[in-house]
């Protein structure tokens, strides 16, 4: 893998940014300062960051109800993200979308669609446009394993396959669709084999390992840019928190969560960066990462302050943005 030091540190930075952002969002939610729902991406950081770091800015992602992480992985700013979650005019969607619809178009998004599976066809259409116009951009719809039994998923993979469209279908298998265990929703352990039915490559990687995700995503992206069509990329992940912040999690044992947490992708990547002497500047190994941690903590605190101090949308604008 030809990753320079700067890129590796940036990967780490984005993973930490997602984690800190989500912790802050959950905290605000529990205090009643965030309305609606928050679906934390905690535990899946390596998946989103590994994929999005393999993309260019002009490549587009299609998100879900759980897309804080996808947006941040693609380069979205904490302050506008936090403002959106708090329903403020300064948010990415001017407070009209909220947590489930955060979409930073300026860093390459097609939107975040909170009906499971519904964002996937949008990526197919964007990729079709890229191909028709001779552009070498790619489109990446994210879904959890819950989305892969929807008609959208099957229709979309099929369509992208028959037209050789530049789509990387990312399937983040976090094992639970709300409360439903993967074994109760699919009769195969390895979901990547579903790709065979559509005549495209299916790749399965460790979703806790950002570099493994990155490498697989990069290969899929290269393939797509060469005009060779879509890839199904399964990242085996786990969601450390409930389906939404405050969800009772009656469907799984605490011990199971604890077991997965031992493999937390962020400390794991941090250890790698130190062991490989990548983050070695300063007086001791890892100094640089401590700085990143500190900076991100401060950045997220400032994002919360910015969001809290930002104005809510003016009631007189309630009917704005319905029609172009």
């Amino acid at each position: 893998m030809d990753l320079d030091r700067k890129t590796l540190i940036e990967m780490y930075r984005r993973m930490v940014r997602i984690r800190e952002f989500e912790l802050a969002a959950m905290d605000l939610f529990k205090r009643g300062q965030v309305k609606g729902a928050v679906h934390p991406y905690i535990g899946q950081e390596a998946s989103g960051v590994g994929v999005c770091m393999a993309l260019r800015k002009d490549d587009l992602i299609a998100g879900t109800h759980r897309s804080h992480g996808h947006n941040i992985a693609k380069g979205a700013a904490s302050d506008k993200m936090m403002a959106e979650i708090l329903g403020k005019e300064t948010g990415y969607c001017k407070g009209r979308g909220g947590s489930m619809h955060i979409a930073a178009f300026d860093t390459g998004s097609l939107g975040a669609l909170a009906v499971v599976g519904s964002g996937i066809p949008l990526a197919v259409g964007a990729a079709l446009a890229f191909k028709m116009r001779g552009e070498d951009r790619v489109a990446v719809p994210f879904t959890g394993e819950g989305g892969v039994n929807t008609g959208n998923w099957h229709e979309s993979i099929n369509m992208a396959s028959i037209w050789d469209l530049p789509v990387i279908f990312v399937l983040e298998n976090n094992r639970y669709a709300v409360s439903t265990d993967i074994h109760d929703s699919a009769n195969v352990d390895d979901l990547s084999i579903r790709a065979q039915g559509y005549g495209i490559p299916g790749v399965r990687v460790d979703g806790f390992n950002v570099l493994e995700v990155y490498q697989a995503a990069q290969e899929a992206v290269n393939r797509a840019r060469r005009g060779e069509g879509p890839t199904l990329l399964v990242t085996e992940a786990y969601r450390f928190e409930g389906h939404y912040a405050g969800e009772p999690e009656v469907y799984r044992e605490r011990s199971e969560v604890d077991e997965y947490r031992k493999n937390d992708p962020i400390p794991r990547f941090r250890e790698y960066l130190i062991q490989e002497e990548i983050a070695s500047q300063g007086e001791r190994l890892g100094d640089e990462l401590d700085t990143v941690d500190r900076e991100i903590k401060q950045e997220v605190e400032e994002a919360v302050r910015f969001a809290k101090e930002s104005p809510e949308p003016d009631p007189s604008t309630a009917m704005d943005y319905i029609y172009a």
Binding site: L60, A62, G91, Y92, C93, K94, G95, R96, G97, H101, A103, F105, L110, G111, L113, V115, S118, G119, I120, P121, L122, A123, V124, G125, A126, A127, L128, A129, F130, M132, A139, G151, N152, E155, S156, N158, M159, I162, D320, Y321, I322, Y323, A324
Partner: protein, 356 residues
């Protein structure tokens, strides 16, 4: 050619005379063509005018679509721009949305409006809401064309005959068009393709064979404007789609009885031109609302309340509705015919309101 093209799925009933609705000025260069041809010409002109426009749908390629609307376009524009798809309604519409989000202007065809339930999530939850949900970042500039309606001996039964404009008119963020004539179909479709919003374009299946004069010069009919198809002073008949023709015939019939009928063609179901409807009812003081769609929660209820809201003080009596009946459409001729209103029903309603 037109007649052969337009006949499909057992259409047997005769068309009505193009003389009933003439929309070109005397001396204006114009060509008589069918509603189906007018839609095709609108598509052809927009495909030629704007390279961002492309068509996507089932059997729209060499086959030319279930009703032959896209016939010849595949030969002219090729498989990239006349994009034939698998049977995947939700992803046809979703892909149109995705392409629109990156600047294309797709025109999707769903074979029958009855099949659009399969695409309802993409239409109603995604395309219609993306602009608001993203605070104006998204622009979904697509058209979804869908044939709808039944009657006149088509006998296509319960899953190929519905009139479902209110499914879509109820969803803010969408525009809904339902043209009644070749002239309107062409001008409105061109406007729909150029509109920066998702537009549901409903084509009445029985009207495909109807003929009328269409100007040779390019024209575009703005969305959101109703059209007074016949001027009159005694009673306003508000109608859309195929029902406009029954309204025109009924108006001729009662004219012999001394009743002067004004016919307002809604044309764009949403946004509704409340002003034109209101002004007409203020003038006549009487109103009959006519639609093929089912009666309960149907379009006529909205038109009637809109007329009442703007013209209550002018009304000389209650507003009367003439509508399809609240039933799935049955197959057999003998009972199918009773489901939809016809000219006699409209004429009776006009006489009824004149009695107040």
């Amino acid at each position: 050619m037109a007649d052969k093209d337009a006949v499909s799925l057992g259409a047997t009933a005769p068309t009505m005379s193009p003389d009933l609705i003439v929309q070109v000025e005397p001396g204006e260069a114009a060509t008589e063509m069918s509603y189906q041809e007018a839609i095709r010409e609108a598509l052809r002109e927009e495909l030629l005018r704007d390279e961002r426009v492309f068509l996507i749908g089932e059997d729209i390629g060499k086959h030319g679509g279930a009703f032959g609307v896209t016939r010849t376009l595949y030969d002219q524009f090729g498989p990239e721009r006349i994009r034939n798809t698998p049977i995947s309604e939700n992803t046809i519409v979703g892909a149109a949305t995705g392409a629109a989000l990156v600047g294309m202007r797709p025109v999707a065809e769903l074979m029958f409006v009855d099949f659009s339930g399969l695409a309802m999530d993409q239409i109603a939850n995604q395309a219609a809401k993306l602009r608001l949900m993203t605070g104006g970042q998204a622009e979904v500039s697509w058209v979804v064309r869908m044939p709808q309606g039944g009657g006149a001996g088509k006998s296509t039964a319960a899953q190929h005959s519905q009139s479902l404009e209110v499914w879509y008119a109820h969803i803010p963020g969408l525009k809904v068009v339902l043209p009644s004539t070749p002239y309107d179909a062409k001008g409105l479709l061109k406007a729909a393709i150029r509109d920066d919003n998702p537009v549901i374009f409903l084509e009445h299946k029985y009207l495909y064979a109807f003929r009328g004069l269409v100007p040779d010069e390019e024209y575009v009919i703005p969305l959101g404007e109703a059209d007074v198809k016949r001027k009159g002073s005694d009673v306003t008949v508000v109608a859309s789609g195929y029902m406009v023709w029954h309204a025109m015939l009924a108006a001729e019939q009662v004219a012999n009885e001394g009743i002067d009928v004004e016919v307002v063609d809604v044309r764009t179901v949403s946004p509704l031109d409340r002003e034109t409807i209101g002004n007409s009812v203020k003038k006549t003081g009487r109103a009959v609302m006519v639609a093929e769609a089912c009666r309960s929660y149907g379009p006529t209820g909205e038109w009637a309340i809109s007329a009442m809201e703007s013209a209550f003080d002018y009304l000389r009596g209650p507003i009367v509705r003439v509508t399809g009946r609240d039933t799935p459409v049955p197959f057999a001729d003998s009972i199918e015919a009773g489901v939809w209103p016809d000219t006699a029903d409209v004429a009776d309603a006009i006489r009824n309101v004149m009695a107040w």
